[in-house]
């Protein structure tokens, strides 16, 4: 498919760009390990005092941390760099080059920057999930694995659409680089199952900054707590938000091109 071919080209560009700085790999590995260590140490401190948190066992929370890293890695790998580049391109006018290319501009701006070393986070995330599941002693059945994959996919689409909507505001506002930082600040809250937060915060973390769909829901799938209603809801929300993002994007491009409003 065209999408994968283009994605592969940009991944190659990303890898080549990073190969110029080989020492970075170790530095990034250290970064990620430290962050993971912090998260797990935090869990250890808490579980010294209790057996469950909001109904979640310690290993289930470890799995959640794994998902946190996994999804965070994917975001840092391709979504965040692309959207940051988009806001910059709108500002300095290099978006014009993209708009004269015979390819869907939204597709191009979504995959044009790949921070390849974030693959470390994705890898670490998978490892942590695997270890947690092993410790839980649960056999991950085909159904559960499929639910996990589906939840991850829905969460991924939701997060991507959210970032795109945020970045598209660049067409109207001048200095929006910082708006993207909102997601990173709020993402921290996803290290914990969203169910422990009071109602209003839970709502904000589900529908305003969709951290719940990105992390808690896939983790629920792993812990066997995911109901098909929630999964269906996630899928529906993914479709709706993706459509909204596409519409908003096209509005943004029309505005940028001075189309009569």
């Amino acid at each position: 498919m065209r999408f994968f071919k283009l994605l592969w080209v940009f991944v190659r560009v990303g890898v080549m760009g990073e190969m110029a700085y080989p020492a970075n790999f170790l530095a990034h590995l250290l970064d990620s390990v430290l962050e993971l260590g912090t998260a797990l140490a935090g869990l250890a401190i808490i579980f010294a005092h209790t057996a469950t948190l909001g109904g979640w066992r310690s290993d289930e929370l470890v799995a959640l941390v794994g998902v946190y890293f996994l999804v965070g890695g994917v975001i840092g790998l391709v979504i965040q760099p692309g959207m940051e580049q988009l806001t910059e391109s709108v500002r300095d006018g290099t978006l014009d080059f993209t708009l004269t290319k015979p390819e869907d501009a939204q597709l191009l701006v979504s995959i044009w920057r790949v921070e390849i070393w974030k693959i470390i986070d994705v890898g670490l995330g998978f490892v942590v999930v695997a270890i947690a599941m092993a410790r839980l002693g649960e056999r991950v059945g085909l159904g559960q694995a499929a639910a996990f994959a589906a939840a991850l996919l829905a969460g991924g689409v939701i997060v991507y659409s959210f970032w795109l909507i945020l970045a598209t505001t660049a067409f109207w506002l001048v200095r929006v680089e910082n708006i993207l930082v909102i997601f990173q600040s709020v993402y921290e809250a996803g290290r914990w199952p969203v169910s422990i937060y009071p109602g209003w915060l839970r709502f904000a973390l589900t529908f305003l900054v969709p951290v719940a769909f990105a992390i808690t829901v896939p983790a629920q799938a792993l812990a066997g707590r995911l109901t098909w209603q929630v999964l269906l809801g996630a899928a529906a929300f993914a479709v709706a938000l993706f459509t909204a993002a596409r519409v908003f994007w096209r509005l943004g491009v029309r505005h940028y091109s001075g189309a009569s409003s």
Partner: protein, 267 residues
């Protein structure tokens, strides 16, 4: 001395004006600074609820009080100098700063204070809002409030000097992210952010008393909440003062070495 006061007044004026320009950035930082203690507030309240009501002398309402006050103290002592330094060195703007006849730390302190002028009112409002939601157990006596002020000022100074000194690492290496990361971890665990120190496992508590971070955040918080005996309060002040002197000495030495290094390499 008069000149220095004058400098601060001027810097504060321009600082506040420019901070108002950077409203968006400040606002976004605020979200992070409100959210992080809030998350731990909820987590620890939940834990205490499921483990018989209280942990280490903190019930849910005590955790609420602790983290709301921590939110304010953290904001009051918060700095971002390591990012600033990294940027300055990369962009080469440090050369201009080195030409100033005044030690650059004063400008940075003034800039920091001006951001607080703009952000603290919002934080206080947020704290009020969270108090309505979480019903913290707050019993503040007059003399605690009185002691809180010098404790906070000292905490700010100690934190600023320590972080400014660590930021100097930018002169020596480009790999400052790792250093910053370790620093943040230390602050998170040992200043009372991830958990009140009384709740930490024993080995960590020991480490926390040796490091300066406890005196930059945890100490003023615990003081205001009335969790410290008068003896502990006095020890705390002494520790703050001691760390202030140590930090100043290390900073002076590190600064001189860094400038030498910078000029030698080619500013």
């Amino acid at each position: 001395m008069r000149g220095l006061v004058d400098l601060y007044v001027q810097q504060l004026k321009t600082g506040v004006a420019s901070m108002l320009q950077y409203r968006a950035t400040l606002f976004i930082w605020l979200i992070g600074n409100i959210l992080e203690p809030l998350i731990y507030l909820v987590v620890w309240s939940t834990v205490s609820g499921s483990s018989g009501g209280s942990i280490g002398g903190y019930a849910a309402k005590d955790f609420a009080a602790y983290y709301i006050v921590l939110m304010l103290v953290n904001q009051a002592t918060f700095t971002w100098v390591m990012y600033e330094f990294d940027y300055r060195i990369r962009e080469g703007t440090f050369s201009a700063i080195l030409l100033h006849p005044v030690h650059p730390i004063h400008a940075d302190i003034a800039e920091n204070l001006s951001s607080k002028v703009v952000s603290l009112p919002i934080m206080v409002a947020a704290a009020a809002g969270l108090s309505v939601i979480f019903h913290p157990a707050l019993k503040i006596t007059l003399w605690m409030a009185a002691a809180f002020v010098p404790a906070l000022v000292l905490a700010f100074l100690v934190r600023f000097l320590v972080e400014w000194t660590i930021a100097l690492a930018a002169f020596w290496t480009t790999r400052v992210t790792a250093i910053n990361q370790i620093h943040f971890m230390a602050v998170l665990f040992f200043s009372g952010q991830i958990a009140p120190l009384a709740v930490l496992p024993y080995p960590l508590r020991v480490v926390a008393t040796i490091l300066p971070f406890r005196w930059t955040i945890g100490f003023p918080v615990e003081l205001l909440l009335g969790r410290l005996s008068p003896g502990q309060v006095l020890t705390g002040f002494a520790a703050q003062a001691a760390w202030l002197i140590v930090a100043m000495a290390i900073l002076k030495f590190a600064w001189r070495a860094s400038v030498k290094n910078y000029s030698a390499v080619g500013a």
